[in-house]
């Protein structure tokens, strides 16, 4: 059996690769020499570069993890993701124990299941998750760029424009009342008019999060963080999903290969064999896990040094006030995130081109703002991911401008749109609603994982039906 080997590209491509890194370094240096406060944006940008490097190196995509598990029986990426979650769980545990982690548990509810399911169907059609589509864009894949753009357009329009006459019928009375209370407490009425405004103010804001720490009846920080969030919130669910993956997708094949089942030790060996099945994906998972924790740590330190709680304060100090929320804040998760800032850059672009107002709603006007993408720290992380992936793809000879077929364009548009809607309903994508919360002991992340898996399973069924149809029509045996 031939093996897939790490290949170095021609020297011309390697020069392009290093030019990307050198340009990024030079621009970062100039920005920080001009004003050291730009270091906050530079930190997000370089976090993006590191994520992009590892994502491309391991071909790390949550669509592959779930979809190929059902379509082909591949366990490689699913295991890599669980390794990444565990590693990030450990590094973020340290961050939280030393008190600099900005993470808060997401609201958990039926929206997590519905949004995760729609997102899962979307990634099956699109051929990549939110992070996967970004690294594939860095490889020169135009279909992936269409997915990223569709995700951004779908979100920007979904949160701001759904005000058609039928919408009141889809807004429960209880949401109306709860949203009205929010307007009585200070949110201007003109910011509550779309379906998504009622969804947020009338439903999501009233939900609570559920993390491993909530299961610990003690105020001791070590017990809550180590036993609660890390062991019960990260390790136990990770082992559970590893066992499920092993039993249903790997065990039969392993037992067949080792010829006989001897004892429980055969299964333990099999489980370990599954974990190290692809060293490269496991290594990428390790890198992503460590980088995610370091990212949180660096931003925590910078916030302390710069004396801010939110990026909006820094922008105001630096004289940038356009596009901030009504409270003067800006989207600034403090950790790896993808979809919200994609919605922001698309809303900014649509506003500039079509001269329409997408600001007067809760998502943009109250929660995140619509910043110029060039001064939006979280958007710089997106640019960093694409450039980091481009560096690695160029260096390994995997960069190529890949023109999609018409069929792929339709799949990309459909998938991207479903991903955008799903991400907004679940309040995040495979990173903000899965990877980050799951690694921080927040059970909403694991619930999203299950729902996304179910959605990917349904998406695979539809895609398989489509492929079977084409095979029957066009393949002659």
């Amino acid at each position: 059996m031939k093996e897939m080997v790490f290949k170095r590209a021609s020297s011309k491509y390697r020069v392009y690769a290093w030019l990307i890194i050198a340009s990024g370094f030079l621009l970062s240096l100039i920005a920080m020499l001009y004003d050291i406060r730009f270091s906050y944006m530079v930190a997000y940008f370089w976090a993006g570069i590191v994520y992009g490097l590892f994502l491309q190196y391991g071909h790390f995509c949550m669509a592959s993890a779930t979809r190929d598990l059902f379509a082909i029986g591949t366990t490689r990426v699913a295991v890599g993701i669980l390794i990444a979650i565990t590693l990030y769980g450990f590094t973020s545990l340290i961050d939280r124990l030393i008190g600099i982690a900005p993470f808060h548990a997401n609201p958990i509810g039926v929206h997590t299941l519905i949004g995760g399911f729609i997102f899962g169907v979307g990634i099956s059609f699109a051929g990549g998750c939110s992070s996967g589509s970004l690294y594939k864009s860095g490889e020169g894949n135009i279909a992936a760029m269409i997915v990223v753009t569709s995700v951004a357009v779908a979100q920007a329009l979904f949160v701001s424009t759904l005000k058609f006459p039928f919408v009141p019928y889809l807004v429960p009375e209880s949401w109306m009342k709860a949203a009205e209370q929010q307007t009585n407490m200070g949110i201007p009425k003109e910011f509550v008019s779309s379906w998504y405004d009622y969804f947020l103010a009338g439903y999501a804001w009233n939900l609570k999060g559920l993390s491993g720490a909530d299961l610990i009846p003690s105020d001791n920080i070590f017990l809550r963080e180590f036993i609660g969030n890390f062991l019960l919130g990260v390790i136990v669910p990770t082992l559970f999903f590893l066992m499920i993956t092993y039993i249903f997708f790997f065990r039969k094949r392993y037992i067949r290969n080792v010829k006989s089942f001897q004892s429980v030790f055969t299964d333990i060996k099999g489980l370990l064999n599954m974990i190290v099945d692809s060293k490269r994906t496991a290594l990428a998972g390790l890198g992503l896990g460590v980088a995610s924790g370091l990212h949180m740590w660096v931003l925590g330190i910078l916030r302390e040094r710069l004396g801010i709680d939110n990026f909006g304060e820094l922008l105001q100090q630096m004289g940038f006030t356009s596009g901030l929320t009504i409270q003067g804040t800006a989207f600034d998760p403090g950790y790896w995130y993808i979809t919200t800032q994609e919605a922001q850059w698309m809303a900014w672009t649509i506003e500039k081109i079509f001269r329409v107002d997408l600001y007067h709603n809760i998502f943009f006007g109250v929660e995140n703002g619509i910043l110029n993408p060039l001064i939006n720290a979280a958007d710089l992380m997106i640019i960093g991911i694409i450039l980091g992936a481009a560096f690695m793809a160029l260096y390994r000879g995997e960069f190529k401008w890949r023109k999609p077929t018409g069929e792929q364009v339709i799949f990309a548009l459909m998938g991207g749109t479903l991903m955008g809607i799903g991400a907004r309903l679940a309040l995040g994508c495979n990173i903000g609603a899965l990877f980050v919360p799951a690694a921080n002991g927040d059970y909403s992340g694991w619930l999203f994982f299950i729902a996304m898996g179910a959605g990917a399973f349904s998406g695979v069924k539809i895609t398989t039906w489509w492929i079977n149809r084409r095979v029957q029509k066009e393949f002659e045996f």
Binding site: E3, A63, R67, G127, N141, R402, Q408, N468, V471, E474
Partner: protein, 83 residues
């Protein structure tokens, strides 16, 4: 460019899935391998790097033999035999 599948001879088939992203290349490969006669070989051409790993996995799981594998300018070629 649409997916292209040709019978080159009784024992050799050709599949061109350039321009397709995941999961299409690996799923078309899987379908073609399942439907081909035993002892037949399939030449697959694709340009989506992550699908290559899935095709390696597919062959490992199904016991197919990868006789040739090469890459040039971001285009990948496999020669996979069932036997």
């Amino acid at each position: 460019m649409a997916v292209k599948f040709e019978k080159l001879s009784e024992s050799k088939y050709f599949l061109d899935v350039r321009g397709y992203v995941c999961p299409h290349p690996q799923m078309y490969t899987k379908k073609a391998m399942e439907k081909m006669p035993p002892e037949a070989c399939l030449e697959v051409v694709l340009d989506n790097p992550s699908s290559c790993e899935s095709i390696f996995d597919l062959c490992k799981i199904e016991g197919y033999k990868i006789v040739e594998y090469n890459e040039e300018g971001g285009v990948f070629r496999f020669l996979i035999c069932r036997g």
